[in-house]
């Protein structure tokens, strides 16, 4: 059953108030808690028993599937392998996310390895939020990996967010784009205290007319540190763009390494990167509207990570 902490975590990572409509699979402390399938969306445990396979029938429209993970067991490091097979012409939303509640000094962690096969002309929107909470001092680690394969004309929109409370994160996103496919990744990571986060992104624009846009927004508070790697590897006539902005607060540090590889003469690749404190003209503007300095800082960060 869901206790209050579970409910709180589910609300934060998956916007769930009670059980969602449609298909879902809730995993708690390494075990299946509850599952529901729908006429078009099937969920089954994989052969090895290490995760789930979500199969979405071709042509499924406007349906969603929630697959949150919650952790509140001291000392547990939960690893899960999930596969998503999205049929041709489907248009679906997948809401994932992991919330850790740490009540003791023992570490807790989760590694979710998510693989997406997006069929011809299918569209998927994937929303993933990571969050740590609890009064315990144990290290909270979240290491998500997403691997995306886009078939002809497929598109995927990935919204990946690490909200707060995660001590260590090693994030990996990999994608291979088929012909006429489109990938949009927006990653937002906020760290504070002594937290560290590394994000490694490798996007291969394999086929003609594929397009990818990777946006990264990082905020480092306290003494936290983030490292961001992103590679767009173009192997056909294609378009790729990386935009990575980092805001440093307090004594945070950041390394950002966008890289572009054009292996085809018609590849068009661009990137924009910036690291810096909150722009003073933004602060001044909001203060001139009546906000205090602290309110202005919070509002700017809130927008930046929106």
């Amino acid at each position: 059953m869901l206790n209050n902490i579970d409910k709180q975590l589910l609300k934060t990572v998956a916007d769930m108030e009670g059980l969602p409509k449609g298909a879902y699979n809730i995993r708690k402390n390494g075990k299946l808690l509850q599952r529901q399938t729908s006429a078009n969306i099937d969920i089954e445990t994989n052969a090895e028993g290490t995760g789930i396979i979500v199969t979405i029938k071709p042509g499924t429209k406007n349906e969603s599937v929630h697959i949150p993970v919650i952790l509140s067991e001291a000392g547990l490091y939960d690893v899960v392998y999930n596969a998503f097979i999205i049929g041709e012409d489907a248009d679906v939303t997948i809401i994932a996310g992991c919330g850790i509640h740490c009540g003791t000094s023992a570490p807790e962690g989760h590694a979710g390895i998510h693989e997406f096969q997006v069929g011809n002309n299918a569209k998927v929107s994937y929303v993933e939020k990571h969050f740590g909470a609890g009064e315990g001092t144990g290290r909270r680690t979240l290491n998500p990996t997403t691997k995306i394969f886009l078939a002809k004309g497929a598109s995927a929109q990935m919204e990946l967010t690490q909200i707060s409370g995660v001590d260590e994160a090693n994030r990996v996103n990999e994608a291979i784009l088929g012909p006429d496919s489109l990938l949009l990744i927006t990653e937002r990571v906020m760290t504070e205290g002594a937290q560290t986060a590394i994000s490694t992104n490798n996007i291969i624009l394999q086929e003609a007319n594929s397009r990818a846009n990777m946006i990264s927004r990082s905020v480092m508070k306290g003494n936290s540190k983030q490292t961001f790697y992103a590679t767009m590897d173009a192997r056909a006539k294609c378009f790729g763009h990386i935009e990575c902005d980092a805001i440093i607060m307090d004594n945070g540090t950041n390394e950002t390494m966008p890289s572009l590889k054009a292996g085809h003469p018609d590849a068009e690749l661009t990137h924009e990167a910036s690291i810096g404190k909150i722009a003073s003209d933004q602060l001044t503007k909001l203060m001139s509207l009546g906000l205090t300095y602290d309110q202005a800082v919070n509002r700017i960060i809130q927008g930046f990570l929106k």
Binding site: D245, K285, G290, R299, G303, L305
Partner: protein, 249 residues
């Protein structure tokens, strides 16, 4: 309602190893009266923006004082001055990420209600309704962001409104209504209005024209008397557009 007393803004300069000081605002004394329309002009780099920022508290005063409604506000923060009823439209407005015009309007007015926000936009008239959910980011055109900047100041219902070059980038069809709007606000509240501009329509609209040159007030008075100064100082757009003759089109 606003009194500048022996106001200085001084910055350190170093020239070939010699360090010294430069008075960007160089001892300004002036009193602005409630409900009047002031247009401040003067050559590029003469100190107009710096003066406006001293009034808003964005630049620290080096020497002298600013009195507002009879009280010395020289040590108040920007926030406190905003709360006291001073609003400021920047010459170069800030651009954000993830903040919309709606968000800024709510910050300026405390109003979240959709209907009331639409009423404000309708009242201002300068910005189409479709602006409401536009992000105030690098994608806005120069004119669009200036319209938003002006609308925010009017929405705040200030007692003292300062507009730093509100007309730059604004299309010809909007400038007339803009002047009309500022005048309407003056008669409604009455808002004391200070506009920094080189534009003839703002000079003509003003009760008082102020000419700043090298950090000092070179002239204050009505436009007719200001004309010889304007020609002397080569205040570019005015002269270019009418050759120094106020009747020329």
């Amino acid at each position: 309602m606003l009194e500048l007393k022996n106001l200085y803004f001084t910055v350190p300069i170093s020239d070939n190893g010699n360090s010294g000081e430069r008075n960007i605002i160089d001892g300004i004394n002036f009193t602005f009266e409630q409900g009047k329309f002031y247009t401040v002009t003067g050559p590029n780099g003469s100190g107009k923006t710096t003066l406006a920022k001293l009034i808003m508290g964005i630049n620290p005063i080096s020497r002298g004082a600013v009195y507002y409604e009879g009280r010395d506000i020289s040590s108040l923060t920007i926030t406190e001055r905003a709360k006291a009823g001073i609003a400021y439209s920047f010459q170069q407005p800030a651009r954000f990420k993830g903040i919309t015009f709606r968000d800024l309007l709510t910050m300026a007015t405390g109003i979240e209600d959709e209907k009331q926000l639409m009423d404000i936009i309708f009242h201002v008239g300068i910005c189409p309704m479709s602006f409401l959910d536009k992000e105030v980011d690098a994608k806005l055109s120069g004119g669009e962001i200036k319209k938003i900047e002006l609308a925010l100041t009017i929405a705040a219902n200030p007692k003292l409104a300062i507009y730093d070059e509100p007309d730059t980038g604004i299309d010809l069809w909007t400038i007339g209504p803009m002047v009309h709007l500022l005048k309407k606000e003056i008669s409604r509240h009455p808002t004391t209005t200070i506009v920094v501009s080189h534009n003839r329509v703002f000079l003509e609209a003003a009760d008082v024209v102020l000419i700043i040159d090298k950090g000092k007030i070179a002239f204050s008075g009505d436009l007719t008397d200001a004309l010889p100064f304007l020609t002397d100082l080569n205040v570019c757009t005015y002269r270019d557009s009418c050759g120094g003759n106020p009747d020329a089109e």
